[in-house]
Amino acid sequence: MPAGVHEAFVDVGGVKIRLLKGGAGAPLLVLHGSEGSLGWRHYAQALADHFTVYLPSHPGFDGSERPPWLNSILDLVCFYTWFLETQGLEGMRVIGWALGGWLAAEIAATTRHAFSKMLLIDAAGIRPQQGEITDLFILSPAQIRDLTFHDPQQVPEYAQLYPSEPSPAEREQAVQNREMAVRLTWKPYMHDPRLPALLARVTAPTRIVWGRQDQIIPVECGTLYHQAIPGSDLVVIEQCGHAPHLEKPDEFVRVAMDFLP
């Protein structure tokens, strides 16, 4: 962990969740995807030059506690609006990737004062009209890894993201993270049929970033988000898969910093 990045468990309504926090400046929340936070990576460090970056692990992920009532994305919306209140962070900027992007969009559509700006990366949440969201729950972790990137060779932190010999504890945590994703997104799979209609409520300036070659959530969903959120823009990154912030972190951070400040 770089100097200046702190890990702590914070209390939200009696539930303790893991939080990575680093940098200085206005607060920026990063909501992770279905595989957990994946740690403090290049993109987070680059953004921490400009913002105080908050990277929490959702309840049930990475050792964060899960309250018994929390079983769906909408439950997670309740939880995170509570988190924003207790941390005094309402009105902060937010970045959400995949499942975390879906979560950010649901919060923005429900609670207009939650976020001042929203950046979605290859977000789940809207059912594509042409293609399909890949069924991650019948694939092995190795198959999912292979689908995540357009070109693994250009992923600078590939070795840190996928250690060749994970410890038993890391393996167990990965299983628990996948279980939590199953709990949250099983049916309807990875989307909320209400969401496209509700996104008309969003007033926070929104940028949508997508990897052109996303093999998990087709780029078509980026267009659907763009159409659903008033005033939003869509930036498609070429030669890039499902995780632009991990596969092309420099380009992603340029696109983010062009929007977030």
């Binding site: 729950f137 019948i138 092995s140 279980e179 709990r183």
Partner: protein
């Protein structure tokens, strides 16, 4: 000793090559149904029912059926329909359903009604088994595997209450909600049909079974591992104040008999050649044990360590090889004398009160199956009954579990 006949009722018109070329080389879930010909299906369903009816004639005590979904290895996608037909076309044998996959049913009351009808039409011959289903059953029905065990237990509790408590009553559980539970038809057997649980022996299920005094039917498990799993059952039973006997234990094996050893061995290969029979090739773990399906409770993870590993399950039966399978008595194939001799060894070691005889599958022909059943009736079943008496293998109808 209770002797029941079983077959998975395989679909047969496809090749191992077809499977290898399918998504994830899996024979279940994603193996396309464009390989299915309903003309052939019509013949097979009728043929399999004919064979089961013949099993009554040769003297089996029970007709065992099972249920799987989205797979050519088992045509019993709605086993209760086959059971309803046999309830009407047979007179004596128990109809043993092992079992209905409870978690996949969103309406267990409907299942309670179906089973009550089968019990009445058969005039009280139903044995109602319940299972969690493989992961494929969850995936094929879009049932969240994370709630598999919770739904299994809640659906079970609801069905038992439906059968034993006069309605109307209200059920407001975690996964099931009914304001009025009051199906008019209830089972003929009181308080309810016997319940047996088949499986490969997860410690959670063994404990749950022992708590409920339900016989556990081990499905082709390694004999050493079976002894270990029985010990888990026994420990729980003792904690609940009783000593389990053979009436609490069943065992399923592929058992095929022909007039001579040589011919039986030739025919028996049909379990493993010609098409992709059960267990031949390893299935993708994410199909059979999807995320959330297997418990993570450290107590049970530790109990699992007590069960010896099955050397034949690791790479599938094809990798194990026919000769090795026969040598280890994991399939019993031969002339009547050979089969009886080998079964005596197995029965003495595992001590089940219930033996499920999986007489045919894969590419074993109808003609060879009928001869096998005939020889079972003439020679094998009478000998097994004697062995059962000699080894005091009491069954659940001789002694209530």
């Amino acid at each position: 000793m209770f002797l029941m006949r079983f077959t998975e009722r395989a679909y047969v018109n496809y090749t191992a090559e077809d499977v290898k070329n399918s998504p994830n080389s899996a024979v279940r879930l994603t193996f396309s149904n464009r390989h299915f010909d309903p003309q052939r299906g019509a013949d097979l369903y009728n043929m399999y029912l004919d064979e089961y009816e013949y099993c009554e004639e040769v003297g089996f005590d029970g007709l065992m059926l099972n249920e799987h979904h989205s797979t050519p290895t088992c045509l019993g996608a709605t086993m209760n329909l086959e059971a309803a037909i046999l309830a009407r076309t047979t007179k004596k044998p128990k109809i043993v359903l092992l079992g209905n996959p409870l978690p996949i049913f969103d309406n267990p009351i409907r299942l309670a009604e179906e089973l009550a009808e089968i019990d009445m039409i058969s005039r009280g011959r139903l044995v109602s088994g319940f299972v969690r289903g493989t992961g494929v059953e969850s995936l094929a029905t879009n049932t969240n595997p994370l709630y598999n065990r919770e739904r299994f237990e809640e659906a079970h509790d609801l069905i038992i209450k439906t059968w034993t408590t006069p309605g109307p009553f209200r059920w407001e559980g975690t996964h099931y909600h009914f304001r009025v539970v009051n199906p008019f038809e209830t089972p003929l057997q009181k308080p309810h049909p016997p319940i047996w649980i088949p499986g490969t022996g997860s410690p959670e299920t063994l404990e749950w079974c022992a708590q409920h005094h339900y016989p556990f039917v081990f499905l082709e498990t390694d004999p050493d591992a079976t002894v270990d799993m029985k010990a888990i059952y026994t420990d729980t039973a003792r904690a609940y104040g009783y000593e389990p006997g053979p009436e609490h234990c069943g065992y399923l094996l592929r058992i095929h008999v022909q007039d001579t050893d040589d011919y039986a061995k030739e025919v028996g290969k049909g379990y493993l050649v010609g098409n992709v029979g059960v267990g031949r090739l390893p299935m993708p773990p994410d199909y059979m044990f999807p995320v959330g399906y297997s418990g993570r409770d450290p107590k049970y993870l530790a109990l699992r360590e007590r069960i010896r590993t099955d050397p034949f399950r690791v790479g599938g039966l094809d990798a194990a090889g026919y000769e090795a399978i026969l040598a280890a008595n994991r399939m019993i194939i031969g002339s009547p004398d050979t089969v009886i001799r080998k079964l005596r060894e197995v029965l003495a070691r595992v001590r089940p009160g219930i033996l499920a005889v999986w007489t045919n599958d894969g590419s074993i022909s109808h003609k060879d199956t009928m001869r096998c059943l005939e020889l079972m009736g003439q020679e094998v079943l009478p000998a097994l009954r004697e062995i059962g008496t000699e080894l005091e293998l009491t069954d659940p109808f001789q002694q209530t579990p």
